[in-house]
């Protein structure tokens, strides 16, 4: 069957099997290997991407289901050489050790901050509760999100000041 979807702003049309999972479409067909493939059972969350702006576990979504929809992957976070603030937060606060869970964590945490720019520690931990960091670096991940929230709040305040008469 033929599927057409927009991934990180670019439309792709490919011939695929109906049973192909979105994670394999992204990695093996489009070559976007930033999205990782882990437990295959929707438990670990390394495969999280956005489907129409909502984080989903792409090992449990058919590529065909994404047909006609917008997908955003970790490759779609940075703008050119400029990292998204959530990526910068993970860099600043050592939010990654081995890095295997990182793409999924980044996509979930970006979505969290877009909905809730000032989450509590509890809200951050709840948001990533469907994701596993095998290095157990959860404290650093929480700090990374907090750093990003503070950084984005400060950036927004500066911008407002600049606009104010």
């Amino acid at each position: 069957m033929q599927v057409t979807m927009t991934v990180n702003g670019t439309e792709h049309t490919r011939e695929i099997e109906g049973r192909m999972l979105l994670v394999h479409f992204l990695r093996d067909v489009l070559g976007l290997t930033g999205t990782h493939w882990g437990c295959d059972t929707s438990n670990c969350g390394v495969c999280v991407v956005w489907l129409d702006g909502e984080p989903v576990k792409s090992c449990t979504v058919l590529a065909a289901m994404a047909g006609g929809h917008e997908v955003r992957t970790v490759e779609g976070l940075a703008e050119g050489a400029e990292l998204d603030p959530i990526q910068e937060g993970f860099r600043q606060c050592h939010g990654l050790q081995c890095g295997f869970c990182t793409p999924g964590m980044l996509m979930t945490c970006r979505a969290l901050l877009d909905r809730n720019p000032d989450p509590t520690e509890g809200e951050i931990r709840e948001a990533i509760s469907g994701q596993i960091c095998r290095c157990t670096g959860y404290s650093s991940i929480v700090r990374s999100v907090q750093w990003t929230a503070a950084h984005e709040a400060a950036a927004a305040a500066t911008k407002e000041e600049a606009v104010a008469p």
């Binding site: 069957m1 099997e17 109906g18 049973r19 192909m20 999972l21 394999h24 295959d40 059972t41 929707s42 438990n43 969350g45 999280v48 909502e54 984080p55 989903v56 576990k57 449990t60 979504v61 058919l62 065909a64 289901m65 047909g67 979930t108 709840e126 948001a127 509760s129 469907g130 994701q131």
Partner: protein, 291 residues
């Protein structure tokens, strides 16, 4: 790599068109909504279908929560997250937000649906226990737009088996409202965050002048399907709520359920949980009804 066996993918554009596809394809086809139960089962070859009919585009038609004086109607494609975030449900049926907080995880809740959960008919499934507690009815649509309405007891005919025929689709859940002070609550014991229940319990009470007009308890993971326990309702009706009554209800729950020993716990432990969670949820439901 785990992938399902080959199948043909079809996409439904309306409920009636989906029923048309089901009529044509028969038992070789299955509807897929969120897919977070069906796709893992197909990966493991526990389920095999020649056709999957994707009904996610029916969210506009079947994704809703409608409140009227005498009932709440929820569309089968309403997603877990929408149930969790609904202000209407939080105010009139807080049992839903109690349950949704402990179902899977936030990412899975972005996809999974009420209808999919009920149709999975897993004995440990939380929303089935919620709907059993609330004495919900299920609206099933078939060819020619024919609709039938069944109770939760009729809907679940066994583990992983429902009353929905090959050419039918579950479209709506209806939850009756009564003109009394009402409260509801849900509690679950799980081994780790997002896991299936070891045992969970839901309770709903209706009070009039301080006395229980009606009360219902639903249990998950302690029988072939989620279980409503009429004996508890009978024991509570007409009485003033209090600790001794909750103890009595807990004792009835423990002896009425039918748990099995498995990796999640022994049958004795599960009976203990059925007792304790029945008491906790009744207590909480009464607190909410009074507030």
């Amino acid at each position: 790599m785990q992938v399902p066996a080959p199948f043909e993918y079809e996409r439904a554009t309306s409920v009636d068109q989906a029923i048309g596809l089901l009529e044509r394809l028969g038992s070789s086809a299955r509807l897929v909504a969120g897919g977070h139960s069906l796709l893992p089962m197909m990966k493991l070859r526990l389920a095999n279908f020649e056709y999957l009919i994707d009904i996610n585009d029916l969210h506009a038609e079947l994704g809703y929560i409608r409140l009227s004086d005498d009932e709440v109607r929820i569309g089968a494609m309403t997603r877990h997250r929408e149930l969790l975030e609904s202000d209407v449900l939080a105010s009139v049926l807080p049992i839903f937000s109690d349950a949704e907080r402990v179902i899977a995880d936030p990412i899975v809740r972005n996809r999974g649906t009420l209808g999919g959960s009920l149709c999975q008919a897993d004995p440990s499934e939380d929303l089935s226990a919620v709907c059993t507690t609330l004495d919900a009815s299920c609206v099933i649509r078939g060819p020619g737009g024919a609709e039938r309405v069944v109770t939760m007891e009729e809907f679940h005919v066994g583990p992983y088996e429902t009353a929905v025929a090959d050419n039918e689709i579950l479209t709506e859940i209806r939850i009756p409202r009564k003109s009394f002070r009402t409260g509801s609550a849900y509690a679950k014991v799980e081994r780790r965050a997002g896991d299936w229940a070891v045992v969970s319990a839901g309770a709903a009470v209706w009070l009039d002048e301080g006395r229980i007009v009606d009360a219902r308890v639903g249990l998950a993971a302690v029988g072939p399907n989620t279980t409503g326990i009429p004996e508890i309702s009978a024991a509570l009706r007409g009485h003033e709520p209090g600790e001794s009554l909750y103890e009595l209800a807990g004792a009835i729950a423990a002896r009425s359920c039918d748990p099995v020993t498995d990796t999640r716990g022994s049958a004795d432990y599960k009976r203990h949980l059925a007792d304790e969670l029945t008491r906790r949820t009744l207590r909480k439901a009464v607190e909410r009804a009074r507030s």
